[in-house]
């Protein structure tokens, strides 16, 4: 069940991705030219040593005995140049970090906000983990790349460029020789990178398997003991851990073989330089200092090529990460806030109307068909039906978590799509079945319904809901910490807090989706009564899972297989044969058998 799919994974080309990514990151483009200029200055630092060696040998040592003043002067000038290029490198690094981190932070926050606007978040719980990765791992990957791989690429290009330029000044023949040695390696590198990337993909998969297997020994602790399946679990874990280890060793072996290739090629180049160089020297094409300088210049080729496979690999990951974030940002929110153009709902009891509403998930069978109904203000409505009858879809359409495929939903005569979200969410509040709580205290969680509420208001709300006793029984009262996702409380207690939170928000229409299903019967009855009192004068809609809710409603809406099949007060519906009568019979037998 996917309400919408996230776009854009592989269609976009790498260049397009980078172009669009940069377009979204103005902080990164600003001052980029200056940063690159500094990078050029910084990389020239790399050829200072070869130049100094050449000058020392050719000029300083030419006349049999060394020209000490000349050498000293040359060395001092070079030393100053080294310090200046180091300074340029420092400024460049800081600028790069600032630019990338600022632009990525912006992208991260934008992505986060955008994900919240996508209905997939509330429709498809399995995709949540992937969406979290968009604003965490994917961004981190880009950040890692920009600050290491990206920098390496700039440095590598600069280094190869200045080295080649200086080589050309000394000897074009030897320059060609050096390039002839390294070009085959450069051609082969992308192949190695593919090999490596495949190996790393396997590592990632095996790591996922391993983490899943390991977590079973913790999360499934009770079941494993109850079924005495320790040995079976241990075997599964060992298998996954060992498979992960083998994949890691395999990837490392590829790196181990590829990495030293550059050293060998460099040695071939150096040997070639000596072999060819001495002959060029005899014909007067090159001085001995230049020849020795060449030996130093070759070392500048080594580190860029040694790290190239890993840089390419990171670049690939970064582009993939970028693609995924752009995919999220390019997915238009399917339930869009009209924003300032939207209308404001006036305060007061709310009426609701569904006009020939249809709903189906893309490519799926219809979930709701031909729903037409009105709910007058201040009425108390119960929605009943079997699992899969369309009750929850009805609730999601009414709260505009989704839009109908056809037809319209109106409140107070206004199409929901015209109403500003800020106004809609203030007036209409749903309490979902799963009482999700944030890690914090009870008070913080209840206040989430109304951020400006004082502690007194919260206490009053609890009293009005008849929950004061329960609150007193807790060790720290409102300061009780609920734990991650509220898991320190029982499922029933979480529902109580969720209800209080919604009540504090003071909506004009309260929609309860089996909001007290996990509470024990005595408490549920008490709560139902309290709710009846506090929702007086408001419109209240309950998706009901038991008899009394339906019995006490002004009207019951009966859903079956996506249609509204019956509506009316309990007393009438129960008398006519049909879905409600059957449902009622099964409830009665469940309660009294």
């Amino acid at each position: 069940m996917t309400a919408q799919s996230i776009q854009g994974n592989s269609e976009r080309s790498a260049l397009d991705t980078i172009r669009q990514g940069l377009a979204l990151a103005p902080e990164f483009r600003k001052g980029l030219a200056g940063t690159l200029a500094l990078a050029v200055v910084a990389t020239t630092g790399k050829i200072i040593v070869p130049i100094a060696v050449q000058q020392t040998i050719d000029t300083g040592l030419k006349s049999g005995s060394p020209d000490i003043p000349y050498i000293t002067r040359a060395v001092l000038i070079c030393a100053v140049a080294v310090l200046l290029t180091a300074l340029a490198a420092y400024i460049m690094n800081v600028r790069l970090y600032k630019a990338t981190e600022s632009s990525l932070a912006t992208l991260r926050v934008r992505g986060f906000r955008h994900v919240h606007d996508l209905s997939v978040l509330t429709q498809n719980t399995e995709r949540r983990g992937a969406l979290v990765s968009r604003v965490t791992n994917d961004i981190d990957q880009i950040s890692n790349f920009m600050q290491w791989g990206g920098l390496m690429i700039i440095v590598a290009f600069g280094q190869l460029f200045v080295a080649t330029a200086l080589m050309f000044v000394y000897s074009w023949q030897l320059t060609l020789l050096v390039w002839a040695c390294f070009v085959p390696l450069m051609i082969a590198l992308p192949r190695f990178q593919k090999l490596l990337s495949r190996a790393y993909t396997v590592v990632r998969e095996r790591t996922g398997d391993m983490l899943a297997a390991v977590s079973e020994s913790v999360v499934g602790a009770a079941v494993i003991r109850a079924y005495a399946s320790e040995r079976r679990t241990a075997e599964r874990i060992d298998k996954a851990v060992n498979a992960n280890r083998s994949a890691q060793v395999r990837a490392q072996t590829i790196v181990g073989f590829v990495f030293p290739l550059t050293e060998i090629v460099a040695a071939v180049a150096i040997a070639g330089i000596v072999l060819l160089g001495v002959r060029l020297g005899l014909s007067g094409d090159i001085t001995q200092g230049e020849l020795v300088a060449f030996l130093f210049l070759v070392t500048l080729f080594v580190s860029p090529l040694q790290t190239a496979t890993e840089v390419l690999n990171e670049a690939q990951n970064a582009v993939a990460g970028w693609r995924r974030i752009l995919g999220v940002l390019d997915t238009p929110p399917d339930v869009a806030d009209p924003g300032d153009e939207g209308v404001e709902l006036p305060r007061g009891p709310i009426s609701v109307a569904f006009e020939d509403v249809h709903f189906s998930y893309p490519g799926g069978a219809p979930v709701l068909r031909e729903i037409t109904l009105e709910i007058p203000p201040r009425s108390r409505v119960a929605v009943v039906g079997e699992t899969g009858s369309g009750k929850t879809t009805f609730a999601k359409l009414l709260t505009r978590l989704m839009d109908p495929a056809a037809g319209r939903v109106t409140v107070d005569g206004r199409d929901l799509r015209e109403i500003r979200f800020s106004s809609l969410r203030e007036r209409i509040v749903m309490v979902p079945q799963d009482g999700f709580l944030f890690d914090g205290t009870l008070e913080e969680n209840i206040r989430y319904g109304k951020p400006s509420a004082t502690t007194e208001e919260i206490e009053l709300a609890m009293t009005e809901l008849g929950l004061a006793d329960w609150l007193e029984g807790l060790p720290a009262g409102l300061d009780t910490s609920v734990g991650q996702r509220g898991e320190s409380l029982s499922a029933g207690e979480r529902q109580l807090v969720a209800l209080a939170r919604a009540y504090l928000a003071d909506p004009d229409l309260l929609l309860l989706d089996e909001a007290t299903s996990a509470v024990d019967p005595a408490t549920e009855v008490r709560l139902a009564r309290a709710l009846e009192g506090v929702t007086r004068g408001r419109t209240a809609i309950s998706i009901a899972h038991r008899l009394s809710t339906a019995e006490n409603a002004d009207e019951v809406l009966v859903f079956d297989a996506g249609r509204l099949v019956q509506r009316g007060p309990h007393a009438e519906l129960v008398k006519e044969p049909g879905v409600y009568a059957d449902l009622h019979a099964s409830w009665v037998s469940a309660a009294h058998s």
Partner: protein, 607 residues
């Protein structure tokens, strides 16, 4: 968290490395050998270059002809040194990986074995997230320094060889090296000390940002229905900006030290040239020696940083190691007796259960006080009580997930603690409140290692009212479920857990509110099916719903950790106020309403 490389951390870190070295002696020895080859040959290649300069390049220019013998020797030396060095590099990298990943895997296997061995009460005391990270992130961190370790050892060999080579070449030039290389090492140490607290903080913030995103997206329904997207974005933004600032702080340190660490050896080479020129004029060295030393400086500049990498990983390693070790050192385990249970003696008759004077406390808080009751073979007993009465704790005692602080639980008259390992599972099946599915197929999840035919699995699924939806799954019994498999609703998961229990034809079946997520109509079908099929079982069922309670022969009413009363449903209704209050809440409410309506109607009629 220790972030600085203090001497205590160093000592502990070296001890951790020592453990790895002892465990993987042979591989480590080979890795060090490879690394030494790499280190030695790095110096060797500089020497080869110096030799070629001295004996090939300079003579050629001086004499005007190429000495071809020396030329080929030089070529051979250069290529030979590079080839050997490459072997060293490859060996060092691969073997370092082998040690690191083997040690990681070993820690993970040991830690999870310990998780499986330690009693459930130990698990209760440790948060899930912490245990998971002990087995994943901590096991990784503990052995992270092993990756650069052989290289660091190689570098030490390299420095040693280089020092000897330089001393032999020229003492004065060697002194320049003795000045520069320690300076690089010290600078590197300062670098790591500055960096590591900042890097730790960035890492911490990265985790916090991720936590906020997880929580916020998990709570999307709440966020959305209350229209709090803006609030959530502000919360996320604050932390994302802290992370940005922390990363920039890391960048400042890196940005400063990286260029410095590159500049220092360059300055060294320049110093070699200046000093070398003077030594040359004094006639103490040849030009080839000068080139050799300068080249050596160029080659040594980068590897020397490996020492810093090892040091940088040590604090994290020590913390990871300590956490892993804490799990491995945890004591306490379930001791098993030697009595072989009924099933092993070919008995399939229903089991009898007796709970006698059982008390149990979580830490200080006693949740069960002197609980006694018995369940005769073949009977169905409902455990009823308000939330927090101690029902789930009691259930854990019945299958010996935990042992009572005092009192005994007897299965067919045998104390659970006297039964051999696996004996309880052979006779008793528990369906817990929280469903857990393994990352495995439907079949694997139901069989859980039990030898069973597909027909039996289908029969169990039928009884659990799960046949229909399993048949509709893409791959039927082979469909992968669990965390990373097909998505199932809460009710569907509960029904699979139920099938897992009934496929074993347990002599005692324990249901801990095991059908709470199932539709009432479906629940009724399951319960009637169980009653018909459960002739061979004794059943203990925890429930709120009347329909479930109605299936029981007897009810044990529990409140505040004590057995308040026991008897048939009717008896308890009559004499136990708490029970009556709990189970008739709905009915009473209905009745009261009906009464009010009658009154209202009556009034209307009257008026």
């Amino acid at each position: 968290m220790a972030t600085k490389v203090t001497s205590a951390v160093m000592r502990q870190g070296l001890r951790v490395l020592g453990v790895a070295i002892r465990t993987e002696k042979a591989v480590f020895a080979l890795a060090v050998l490879a690394s030494a080859l790499y280190g030695g040959m790095t110096v060797g290649s500089a020497w080869a270059l110096g030799w070629a300069t001295q004996h090939v390049v300079l003579p050629t220019f001086a004499q005007g002809n190429v000495a071809s013998g020396a030329l080929w020797v030089g070529t051979f030396l250069i290529l030979g040194a590079a080839l050997l060095k490459s072997f060293g590099v490859a060996g060092r990298r691969i073997l370092a990986g082998v040690i690191q990943y083997r040690m990681q895997a070993r820690s993970r296997r040991d830690v999870t074995k310990q998780y499986l061995r330690l009693p459930l009460s130990w698990h209760h005391r440790h948060p899930t997230g912490q245990l998971l990270s002990n087995a994943s992130a901590d096991a990784e961190a503990a052995w992270a320094p092993l990756a650069p370790l052989p290289m660091a050892v190689g570098v030490i060999v390299m420095l040693f060889t280089a020092a000897i080579a330089m001393v032999f070449t020229d003492l004065t030039l060697a002194l320049v090296g003795f000045l520069i290389f320690p300076a690089i090492a010290v600078l590197n140490l300062i670098y790591q000390r500055q960096l590591s607290p900042l890097a730790t903080r960035a890492q911490q913030l990265r985790a916090e940002v991720s936590e906020i995103a997880h929580e916020s997206f998990d709570g999307a329904l709440v966020v959305k229905t209350l229209g709090r997207e803006g609030l959530e974005t502000d919360r996320f933004r604050r932390r994302a900006h802290e992370l940005r600032d922390a990363n920039i702080a890391v960048g400042r340190v890196r940005g400063l030290f990286d260029p410095l660490l590159e500049a220092l050896p360059t300055i060294g080479v320049l110093a070699v040239l200046a000093v070398g020129a003077m030594r040359l004029s004094a006639g103490s060295i040849g030009s080839g020696d000068l080139v050799q030393v300068a080249y050596l400086f160029t080659l040594l500049a980068f590897p020397i940083r490996a020492l810093g990498w090892v040091l940088a990983e040590l604090p994290r390693s020590v913390v990871g190691w300590q956490r892993v070790q804490a799990v491995l050192d945890a004591t306490g385990s379930m001791e098993y007796g030697s009595v072989v249970s009924g099933a092993a003696t070919a008995s399939s008759a229903p089991a009898a259960l007796e709970v006698s004077g059982v008390s149990y406390a979580y830490g200080e808080a006693e949740v069960l006080h002197d609980v006694s009751f018995d369940v005769p073979a073949g009977r169905t007993v409902a455990l009823v009580g308000p939330t927090g009465a101690g029902k789930s704790t009691l259930v854990q005692l019945l299958v010996r997930l935990v042992d009572p602080d005092s009192g005994r639980v007897l299965l067919d008259g045998v104390d659970l603690r006297d039964l051999a390992y696996g004996g309880i599972a052979e006779s008793v099946a528990l369906v817990p409140q929280q469903t857990f599915l393994f990352d495995d197929s439907v079949r694997g999840n139901i069989a859980l290692g039990l030898e069973t035919s597909d027909e039996d699995v289908w029969a169990a699924l039928r009884l659990a009212q799960a046949e229909g939806f399993v048949a509709r799954l893409a791959d039927g019994l082979d469909t992968r479920v669990g965390e990373r498999g097909a998505s199932l609703s809460g009710g569907q998961r509960q029904r699979l857990a139920l099938a897992r229990a009934v496929v074993r034809r347990p002599r005692l079946l324990i249901l801990d509110d095991a059908t709470s997520s199932v539709d009432p109509q479906v629940e009724a079908k399951i319960l009637y099916g169980l009653r018909d099929a459960a002739e061979a079982s004794t059943v203990v069922v925890v429930a709120y719903r009347m329909a479930t309670i109605a299936l029981a022969d007897e009810v044990v009413y529990l409140d505040h950790g004590r057995v308040v009363d026991r008897g048939t449903h009717e008896e308890l209704l009559e004499r136990c106020a708490g029970y009556r209050n709990l189970v008739t809440a709905y009915e009473r409410e209905e009745a009261e309403r009906a009464a009010i309506e009658v009154t209202v109607e009556g009034e209307e009629v009257g008026a």
